[in-house]
């Protein structure tokens, strides 16, 4: 079920990451991870294939450890709903370098497209704002996506939260590595950390 005039998720993520520079990108399990892989594999991509509800917290741990680097969490509405408390934790810590983007298709696309809470009642932008994240917005146009992509490089003015209503069409999966040790070691290596 697709609603009219919604943005294409692959185009949104490609635009967000087009000029990512040194940014670390965390992908929530499911289609968000496929979208990030489709935009191009990268040593600083941190793909999640499980740990539902944990994407924002993994991003927060990274953001606090690497305050000079932009950390971008891209996840879905279902994954964000499961970790909504983490928005309160981020609102308290206020890491300037953390950006959270929810690709909101109002459905659990990976499991058959069951309707999620955001289709009719839950307002994640409102939740983020109420949790103390000052920079919150809904992105609806390509121009807004491009402007927001530029702001991701700013590591002083976050945290920021954006909800993007996307088309709910299920796209062909683009599979990233699902080997946690590989993606962890690759990221740590790129940041200059060796094995134990």
């Amino acid at each position: 079920m697709s609603k009219a005039n919604r943005l294409d998720r692959r185009a949104v993520v490609a635009s967000l990451l087009k000029d990512r520079k040194d940014a670390i990108v965390v992908g929530g399990l499911g289609a968000s991870t496929y979208d990030i892989a489709a935009a191009g594999d990268h040593a600083r991509n941190f793909y999640l294939w499980g740990a539902m509800g944990g994407a924002v917290m993994i991003g927060l741990g990274l953001a606090l450890a690497q305050p000079k680097l932009p950390v971008v969490v891209i996840t879905g509405d279902g994954e964000m709903l499961m970790g909504m408390g983490s928005l309160a934790t981020v609102g308290l810590q206020k890491p300037g370098n953390l950006s959270i983007i929810v690709l909101d298709n109002e459905a659990y696309g990976e499991t058959g497209g069951q309707t999620s809470h955001t289709a009719s009642s839950a307002d994640l932008v409102g939740v983020a704002k109420a949790c103390g994240i000052a920079d919150v917005r809904t992105l609806e146009t390509t121009a807004e996506i491009e402007a927001f992509a530029a702001s991701l490089q700013d590591v002083a003015e976050g945290p920021r939260f954006a909800n993007v209503k996307i088309d709910a069409a299920n796209l062909e999966r683009v599979l990233s590595s699902r080997d946690g040790m590989f993606i962890l070691t690759r990221l740590r290596g790129d940041l200059g950390f060796g094995p134990i």
Binding site: A51, M57, I58, G61, T89, L184, L187
Partner: protein, 189 residues
């Protein structure tokens, strides 16, 4: 307010007696020595002195959580970014973490958690007993090694062993701080 279990007298339940405990300082010293930087926690009375030390430390960042599993994910991210952390929680929070404990096997990162025990040793509140009774088994089923400290003078040694294997060998480890150590919670009207 907690009474020391080995001396449940009126005098022992005074806050001054509790704040004089030295084992939380022993824990803090070990965390300092192992360069622990991120300290997520859900508050517990048994952790209160340690949390105060953490929040007063310029080298550590105390991070209050809304629920304990947030801390497991946070520590995975911290390690990906090059920092060590430790998760402070009460035994009832361990059950909240179960699926997120998967990260300790997926990433084999240096996971250390310090758990104040409820539901044992003179527990007044029956609601604490089920989770307190299964805490150790939950960790072990999740592939996390369990060490326990029950006496004040063994806390430092247990902490050094736990931090050594967690940070030195990336062996996920939980330290259970017995209710006998922290004192059974006293409920008064």
């Amino acid at each position: 307010m907690h009474a020391r279990a080995e001396a449940p007298t009126e005098a022992a339940v005074e806050p001054a007696a509790e704040s004089a405990a030295s084992w939380p300082d022993d824990i803090f010293a070990v965390l300092q020595r192992f360069d622990v930087r991120q300290v997520p926690y859900v508050p517990d009375a048994g952790h209160s002195q340690l949390i105060q030390r953490v929040l007063a430390s310029p080298a550590m960042r105390g991070i209050p959580l809304t629920t304990e599993e947030e801390g497991v994910a946070l520590l995975a991210g911290a390690w990906a970014g090059g920092q060590r952390g430790v998760l402070l929680m009460q035994s009832s929070g361990v059950g909240n973490c179960i699926n997120m404990f998967s990260l300790t096997q997926i990433f084999r990162f240096p996971f250390l958690t310090l758990v104040t025990m409820r539901g044992e040793w003179g527990e007044f509140n029956p609601w604490q007993v089920p989770m307190g009774s299964s805490t150790q088994a939950v960790f072990e089923l999740s592939g996390i090694k369990v060490l326990r400290a029950s006496q004040p003078d063994e806390v430092r040694e247990v902490m050094e062993a736990a931090a050594g294997q967690a940070y030195g060998a990336c062996t996920p480890t939980a330290v259970l701080l017995s209710q006998r150590l922290i004192g059974a919670k006293v409920f008064t009207k």
